[in-house]
Amino acid sequence: MSVLPYLAAGWVFLVGCYGLATSRNLIHAVGCLSVCQSSTYVLLLAVGYRRGGTAPVFSDIAPGSRPVVDPVVQALVLTDVVVGATVTALLLALVIQTAKRHGTVDPDELSELRG
């Protein structure tokens, strides 16, 4: 149990990489990249978890009354979720441009175009 979440994060990362490498459609590849991204969230939050801990928000519990989970990793993940979505948007914009220029979104056909 004590390593299961880390291994799950590793599996999600590797399966995303597999999808990226074998993808025949750039839109599908961008989706696989977001799967890879989500593995980092799982890993970071698993590292910060503490058994019996509660969320690090003190608006309804007295400070020091209960152990809390690590807030630093949560802050890291929180910003990355939103920023990651805008980076996905940038990649999709590039895919739309590629489709306009070359009329295809298959990476194999694209590499044939440029030799």
């Binding site: 503490r50 058994r51 939103v82 948007a89 306009k100």
Partner: protein, 257 residues
């Protein structure tokens, strides 16, 4: 490289990474352990600065400079998307056909819109107290506006959503963050210092500069999300023609050489 060779290379690399990841996983401190030195220090310093939501304190006070970097990535990504997806000279936009919306869907969406908008604004405003903040609330506010597209049609959405105004809001949010940081430099000691009085613990005005920076991020993220979705919706629904297969570009290159 042939497809088969590429798959072999992928398998070798994948197995290597898998072995390394597994070794690292068994060497990490166990899941759910009690030793969190950074977390304990962050909690202590958030309580000293009267911020009830420790995560907001980490984002907008203790690691505020890091958040400036993150939001600059966001700003740059939005800028790049806007440049890539603008309407080019050989394209033209045609207003999409109006479609009939099922009255039940329309009624539900029109009720859900103000409620969702209010929830989004509440989440931004209470970022220093309860779970939430500018990043989450901004996205909720921006997606709430798009319920109007589901309820009526794209024209109605365009009327309440002048994309240029939201682009300005995006830039203003980023500028406000930098200006607040500079104010910290002038009034306090360092860039992005928390120079305001900390206030009473667990009230709306607690946390010094945290609520202000939080609001700046909320405005920026909401503006950014609306602008992004506007560009994608324009491309998918309105803009047609142009740039077929890159023939024009290849001719240009041939002429140059």
């Amino acid at each position: 490289m042939s497809r088969k060779a590429r798959l072999w290379l992928l398998a070798v690399g994948g197995i290597g990474v898998a072995v390394l990841l597994a070794c690292a996983a068994f060497d990490l401190p166990g899941f759910g352990g009690t030793s969190h030195p950074y977390g304990e220090r962050a909690v202590r310093s958030a309580l000293a600065r009267h911020t009830a939501n420790v995560i907001s304190s980490v984002n907008f006070d203790q690691r505020a400079f890091d958040t400036l970097g993150e939001e600059s990535i966001l700003f740059a990504a939005v800028l790049g998307t806007v440049v890539l997806l603008r309407e080019t000279r050989d394209e033209h936009s045609e207003p999409p056909e109006t479609v009939r919306v099922d009255p039940h869907v329309r009624r539900y969406a029109l009720i859900a819109l103000p409620v969702t908008l209010l929830i989004g604004l509440y989440i931004i405003a209470h970022g220093q107290l309860s779970p939430g903040g500018g990043f989450q609330g901004g996205v909720i506010v921006a997606t709430a506006l798009h319920l109007l597209y589901i309820a009526i049609d794209y024209k109605a959405l365009e009327r309440i959503r002048p994309a240029a105004a939201y682009a300005i809001a995006d830039a203003a949010g980023e500028a406000a963050y930098v200006l607040l940081g500079t104010a910290g430099l002038l009034a306090g000691s360092v860039f992005l210092a928390n120079f305001l009085p900390y206030g009473t613990f667990n009230t709306l005005s607690s946390g010094g500069t945290v609520p202000l920076l939080n609001a700046a991020i909320g405005v920026e993220v909401a503006g950014a999300t609306v602008v992004l979705l506007a560009r994608f919706l324009d491309q998918a629904l309105e803009i047609e023609g142009g740039g077929t297969g890159g023939t024009g570009r290849q001719d240009e290159e041939a002429n140059r050489s």
